[in-house]
C-alpha cells in the first residue's frame, strides 16, 4: 500500500501519516471543534483576490456602493466559513459492521451520519487516500440520519484495519473546505482474490458409507431429483416425473446422484502445483465458491489446516476464512 511505497524524502506524506496514526480509532466519531479542520479552497483565494480588486476599484473611483458590495461579500464569505465548519461540527459518524470482502473486488463501507440539530447539506465521504472524484455525497436531515456508502478495494487478503476515512464539505459557497479524518476501529476480513477462469473442480471421490448413512437418517429421502443439466446421461432422467413436469411446462428432471451416492471433494493445496502460495489460495478460493455453487460436500486442506467436508454457508465461510488468514 501507499505506506510502503512512500519514499523517505516525501516528508509531507510522512508527516501526514504520523498525524493520522495519532488519531484514536473509534467506530463512533462525534465531530467537534477539535477534529474538524478548515482551510480556504482555491476558489476561496480567488474570491479574496476578487474582493481586493473590488476594494481597489471602490477606493480609486470613490464608490461608496462599491464599498457596500465589497464588504457585503466579505461578510458573506466570513459567515460562509462558519457555516462550512458548522456543517460538519456536531455530526456523528458511525460505521456499520463491515461484511467480509474478496481482495481485488470492492468492499462497501456503510457509514451512518446523524445530526442532532440542524439539517446538513453536501457532506462527502471518501477514503483519505482516494481521489476527490470518489466522494460519496449525502445530505443529513435535521435530527435524522443518512447513510453513505464508500467502496474500498482491498488489495490483499487477511484481517485489515478499515482504511482511514475522510468527510468533507464545501457548503454553502465553496470558498472553504472543512474536513475531518476518521480512523474507524472496525477490522475488515479480506478473502483471497478469486482466480478468474480457474480450472474445473478436481474429481470427487466416493465416501465411506458412514457419511451417507448419516445423511440418509437426516434427510429422510434417499433419492432426490434436480433440474436436468446438460450432459446428464439418459438413464439418470427420472422419466415419470419428467413427464409430469413437462406437462406443467417445467423442465426435465434428473435423479440427483449426489444424494444417492455421496461423493466428497477435497480442495487440496497440494493439487495446485506449479503456483506460488497466493495464487494457490486464489485458486482454492475460486474452487470453494464453485463447490459451494455446485452444492457439493467439500473439505479444504492447507499446510497445517484441514477443514472436514461439509456444505452450506457456514462451510463456505469457514473455508474462506481459513484461506484469508492462512500463514505458512
Amino acid at each position: 500500500m501507499s505506506s510502503t511505497l512512500t519514499a523517505p524524502w516525501n516528508v509531507r506524506a510522512r508527516v501526514r501519516r504520523w498525524l493520522t496514526s495519532r488519531l484514536p480509532r473509534t467506530d463512533n466519531q462525534l465531530l467537534t471543534q477539535g477534529n474538524v479542520y478548515i482551510l480556504p479552497t482555491r476558489a476561496g483565494w480567488m474570491f479574496a483576490l476578487t474582493l481586493i480588486v473590488l476594494l481597489l476599484a471602490s477606493v480609486n473611483y470613490q464608490l461608496n456602493l462599491g464599498y457596500v458590495l465589497t464588504f457585503l461579500l466579505a461578510g458573506s464569505g466570513i459567515v460562509s466559513m462558519h457555516i462550512t465548519h458548522g456543517t460538519l461540527r456536531g455530526v456523528t459518524l458511525h460505521l456499520r459492521p463491515v461484511a467480509p470482502a474478496f481482495a481485488g473486488s470492492p468492499a462497501v463501507l456503510d457509514i451512518v451520519m446523524s445530526s442532532p440539530t440542524s439539517p446538513r447539506f453536501g457532506i462527502g465521504l471518501r477514503m483519505l487516500e482516494a481521489p476527490a472524484s470518489t466522494l460519496a455525497w449525502t445530505n443529513v436531515p435535521a435530527g435524522g440520519q443518512a447513510t453513505a456508502h464508500v467502496s474500498y478495494v482491498p488489495p490483499l487478503r487477511g484481517l485489515h484495519d478499515v482504511p482511514t476515512l475522510s468527510a468533507e464539505t464545501r457548503f454553502p459557497l465553496g470558498l472553504f473546505r472543512a474536513w475531518t479524518v476518521w480512523r474507524p476501529s472496525a477490522r475488515l476480513l479480506v478473502y483471497p482474490e478469486v482466480e478468474a477462469d480457474a480450472p474445473a473442480l478436481p474429481a470427487a471421490r466416493p465416501v465411506a458409507s458412514g457419511a451417507t448413512q448419516a445423511r440418509r437418517s437426516e434427510g429422510g429421502e434417499i433419492e432426490g431429483v434436480r433440474a436436468y443439466r446438460r450432459g446428464d446421461p439418459l438413464k439418470l432422467i427420472a422419466w415419470k416425473k419428467a413427464a409430469q413436469a413437462l406437462e406443467t411446462g417445467a423442465e426435465l428432471v434428473s435423479r440427483d446422484t449426489s444424494t444417492s451416492a455421496r461423493q466428497e471433494l477435497w480442495l487440496d493445496w497440494a493439487a495446485c502445483t506449479r503456483l506460488d502460495p497466493e495464487q494457490r489460495l486464489s485458486r482454492l478460493a475460486a474452487w470453494t465458491l464453485a463447490a459451494d455453487r455446485a452444492d457439493a460436500d467439500y473439505g479444504l486442506r492447507l499446510p497445517g489446516v484441514e477443514i472436514d467436508p461439509g456444505d452450506g454457508d457456514a462451510q463456505r465461510v469457514r473455508c474462506l476464512e481459513a484461506l484469508a488468514l492462512w500463514r505458512s
Partner: protein, 685 residues
C-alpha cells in the same frame, strides 16, 4: 413560410418546455444562473453598444436552449472565434480597449461567453466573480437607490447559484437555496456595516483615467463646444446647506477657474492651476458689505485644484489633508487636485466688490487678443465702441447685452461645430450657442473695444426646491460668464447668457421632464397625495445620498466624535477597526475553545445519572441505555428503586419516545441525584 411551418420550425429550434418543476436539476440550475446573469447585465443596456447587447442576448439564449435540450456545449474554437470577434468589435466601437466603457463591454461579453464553457466547477466560479465585478461597474454609472436594489437582487441571485452548486445531492428547491443564500448574506450584514462605517476612506491610490465618476465637469481650460457634454451630465457636483436664508437663484454663482489667456482656440488660466505651499499669499482686494452667510459644502471629487465656491467666499474652514487659499482673482485653490469627496464649512458675502488690481499687468493681460483670429468681430467691436464714444465700460457692456437680446441670438446646447474664426461665425453669422459661446464672444468684443475682460467658469444655479435643506448643484449647472473692469469700481460680473436665456440664470436651468403616466394620473387624482409621496421619496433619497453615497472621511470622523473620540483622526479609525475585528475574532476563538469541551446535554445528563447510580452500588457501563439501567435498578433494588427506575424510563421516553423533546430536563437530573442521596443515607453501613 406559412404559420404552421413557422410554428413547426420554432418547435424544432426550441426544445419543449417541460415546466419549471419538472426540469432536470442541471438544466434548472443553468437556466437560473442565466437569468441572474441577464438581470445583472440588463442595467448596462443603455450604455453598451448594440452589437454587445445582441451578442449577449444571443449567447444566453443559445446556452439556455442547450441546457433545455441537454445538448453538448460548443467546442473551444467556436468560443475563441466569438471572443476574438467581440474584442475586435469593442476596438471598432471605442478605438481602444482601455477605459471604462470598453472594459465593461469586454467584461459583459466575457461573462456571456463563459456560460458556454461551464464544464468544471472552476468555470462556474469565474462566472460568479465576473458577475460581482460587473455589479461594481454599474456603480460607475449610477449609485441611485434603484440601482442598489437591483444589484442587491443580483448579488442574492449569484449567491443562490453558488449555494445550489454546493448542494450536490437531490433536487433542492430554488426557494431553499435562496433562503440559505439570504441567510448567509444577512448574517454577513453586521460585518458589512462595521467595515463600511470604519474602513478608512482614502483618496484614489493612483490616477484613474479621466472617465472615472465625473468624466465631464469643469476644467482649467475652455474650448468652444467642450461644455456640451457637461451640460448633459446629471451627476452631482456639490451639495450646499446654508446656515441662514439662502441667496436668490440669480446670486448662486459658484466661482471656479478664471480664464484670462486666449490663444484663438482655447481659454486658459494665467499662472498656476494649483497652490503649492511655496506660493506666496496674494489675497484678493475684496470689499464686502452685509453679514457673511455661513454654509456647508459637500464637494464631489472634481479632479481640479480649483474649488468652485459661492461668490464671494471670504473664509474656508480647514480641510483635513488639503490646504485651500484664496487667489487675487477670487479663485480658491487647493494644493493638489481634489480626488475625494470633501465636506467643509465656509462663509461668503453675496454683495461684494472685487477691488483694485493686486498685480501689475493684471489689466494688461485682460486686454490681449490673439493676432490673426476673428478679424470681423474685432472690426465690429471697434465700430461698436466708436459709435458710443466716451461711454463707460458698464455702459458698453449693457449695450452689448442689449444687442444680444435684440439681434436674434438663440440659446441651444447643439450649436454644431465652429471653425477657426469661431467667434466671427458665432457673433456675426450663426448666432446660436450656449454659455461658453456667449461668454467668449462677450469678452473678445470688450477686449477689442479696449475694456479689460475675462471669462469665469464655475456653476450657476441649483436644483429647486432644496431637499431636506440641501441645495444640489449638478454638473449640468456648469456655466461660463464674463467679468469686465470698470475703472473706479473694480471687476463687474456680466452674464451674457442671461440676456438670451433669462431662464438659464433665474432658476434651475434644466427643463423639467414631462410627468410620467403614473405621476400624471396621481397628480390628476389627488395632487396633495402626489406631492406628499414625492416629498417622502425625496427625503428618503436625500438620506440615501447623505448616509450611503456621501459617507466619507468627514462623516466617519463625526461618527468617531459621537462615540467619544475628542480629536479623531484616520489613525483612530484604523485602530478602532482593527480593534473591533480582533475583538470579534478573539470572541470567536474563545467560543470555539469552549465548544471544543462541550458535551451533548443528553450525554451529560446520562453521565451524571450513571455516576449517581454507581454511588449506590448499581453498575452502569458507559454504553448502557436508560432502559437497561432501569431494568437493573428494578432487579437490584426492587420497590425502593422504583423512583429511580421511573425517572430513567421518563428519560428514555423524553429522548427517544413518540413525543421526544429537543433538550433534556434538568429537573430530572436534580430529582435523580436527590433520590440516590436519600437511598445512600438509608443504606446500612
Amino acid at each position: 413560410m406559412n404559420a404552421a411551418t413557422l410554428a413547426a420550425s420554432t418547435r424544432r429550434a426550441m426544445p419543449r418546455w417541460p415546466g419549471w418543476q419538472r426540469l432536470p436539476r442541471e438544466a434548472r440550475d443553468t437556466l437560473f444562473l442565466l437569468a441572474v446573469i441577464a438581470w445583472t447585465v440588463l442595467p448596462h443596456a443603455s450604455h453598451l453598444p448594440a452589437w454587445s447587447l445582441a451578442l449577449t442576448a444571443l449567447v444566453l439564449l443559445w446556452r439556455g436552449r442547450l441546457a433545455l435540450a441537454n445538448a453538448a456545449l460548443p467546442g473551444r474554437w467556436v468560443l475563441v472565434v466569438v471572443l476574438i470577434t467581440a474584442i475586435g468589435l469593442t476596438f471598432w466601437s471605442y478605438r481602444t480597449l482601455l477605459g471604462k466603457e470598453p472594459g465593461v463591454t469586454l467584461a459583459v461579453s466575457l461573462m456571456a461567453l463563459k456560460t458556454l464553457e461551464l464544464r468544471a466547477r472552476r468555470d462556474a466560479f469565474v462566472v460568479f466573480f465576473l458577475g460581482f465585478f460587473i455589479i461594481l461597474t454599474h456603480f460607475l454609472y449610477s449609485q441611485s437607490m434603484l440601482v442598489a436594489i437591483a444589484m442587491l437582487v443580483s448579488v442574492w441571485g449569484l449567491l443562490t447559484a453558488l449555494v445550489l452548486a454546493h448542494m450536490p445531492v437531490g433536487q433542492p428547491s430554488l426557494a431553499q437555496a435562496g433562503g440559505l443564500a439570504a441567510r448567509t448574506a444577512m448574517l454577513g450584514a453586521p460585518v458589512m456595516a462595521l467595515l463600511f462605517l470604519l474602513f478608512p476612506r482614502v483618496g484614489p491610490l493612483w490616477g484613474v483615467p479621466q472617465d472615472g465618476i465625473s468624466k465631464t465637469g469643469l476644467s482649467n481650460t475652455m474650448k468652444l463646444g467642450s461644455m456640451t457634454e457637461v451640460a448633459r451630465d446629471d451627476a452631482v457636483a456639490m451639495r450646499i446647506r446654508f446656515d441662514g436664508p439662502a441667496p436668490t437663484p440669480s446670486q448662486m454663482y459658484f466661482r471656479g477657474p478664471v480664464l484670462t489667456h486666449f490663444d484663438g482656440f482655447e481659454w486658459t488660466q494665467l499662472g498656476l492651476t494649483f497652490a503649492p505651499a511655496s506660493l506666496p499669499a496674494r489675497l484678493p482686494a475684496l470689499q464686502t458689505s452685509g453679514t457673511p452667510l455661513g454654509y456647508e459644502v459637500t464637494l464631489e471629487p472634481l479632479r481640479l485644484a480649483s474649488v468652485p465656491l459661492l461668490e464671494a467666499t471670504t473664509e474656508v474652514a480647514a480641510i483635513d489633508g488639503y490646504r485651500l487659499v484664496a487667489r487675487d482673482d477670487l479663485q480658491w485653490l487647493a494644493d493638489k487636485p481634489i480626488l475625494e469627496r470633501l465636506r467643509f464649512k465656509a462663509s461668503a458675502n453675496t454683495s461684494f466688490v472685487l477691488g483694485p488690481p493686486r498685480r501689475f499687468g493684471e489689466l494688461q493681460d485682460s486686454l490681449e487678443l490673439p493676432v490673426g483670429f476673428n478679424p470681423r468681430t474685432v472690426i465690429w467691436a471697434r465700430a461698436f465702441r466708436d459709435a458710443r464714444r466716451g461711454a463707460s465700460a458698464t455702459r458698453l457692456a449693457d449695450a452689448l447685452l442689449q444687442h444680444i437680446r435684440s439681434d436674434g441670438f438663440s440659446y441651444t446646447l447643439a450649436p454644431g461645430d465652429y471653425g477657426r474664426n469661431a467667434i466671427d461665425e458665432f457673433w456675426l453669422d450663426r448666432k446660436e450657442g450656449f454659455c461658453e459661446h456667449f461668454a467668449a464672444a462677450f469678452v473678445v468684443i470688450l477686449r477689442a473695444a479696449g475694456v479689460p475682460a475675462r471669462v469665469v467658469t464655475g456653476y450657476q444655479g441649483t436644483d429647486l426646491p432644496p431637499v431636506d435643506g440641501y441645495y444640489v448643484v449638478r454638473q449640468s449647472s456648469a456655466h461660463a460668464w464674463a467679468e469686465f473692469w470698470q475703472t473706479g469700481t473694480g471687476w463687474v460680473r456680466a452674464d451674457p447668457t442671461g440676456a438670451v436665456s433669462p431662464d438659464r440664470i433665474g432658476r434651475s436651468n434644466r427643463l423639467a421632464p414631462p410627468p410620467g403616466f403614473v405621476a400624471g394620473t396621481l397628480d390628476a387624482m389627488n395632487p396633495r397625495l402626489f406631492a406628499q409621496l414625492r416629498n417622502a421619496w425625496e427625503a428618503v433619497n436625500n438620506r440615501w445620498n447623505q448616509w450611503v453615497l456621501n459617507y466619507s472621511r468627514g462623516q466617519q470622523l463625526d461618527v468617531l466624535k459621537q462615540i467619544g473620540f475628542d480629536t479623531p483622526s484616520w489613525e483612530d479609525l484604523a485602530l478602532l477597526l482593527i480593534g473591533t475585528l480582533s475583538g470579534l475574532a478573539l470572541a470567536g476563538a474563545v467560543w470555539a475553545w469552549l465548544d471544543r469541551h462541550r458535551i451533548d446535554p443528553w450525554v451529560r445528563q446520562l453521565e451524571r445519572m450513571k455516576r449517581a447510580l454507581r454511588t449506590i452500588g448499581v453498575a452502569a457501563a458507559p454504553h448502557e441505555a436508560p432502559r437497561t439501567l432501569a431494568m437493573r435498578v428494578r432487579g437490584k433494588l426492587g420497590s425502593t428503586g422504583e423512583t429511580l427506575a421511573a425517572l430513567l424510563d421518563a428519560l428514555e421516553a423524553r429522548r427517544y419516545g413518540r413525543a421526544a423533546a429537543r433538550r433534556p430536563d434538568p429537573a430530572m437530573t436534580r430529582d435523580f441525584t436527590a433520590e440516590t442521596r436519600r437511598l445512600r443515607a438509608l443504606a446500612p453501613r
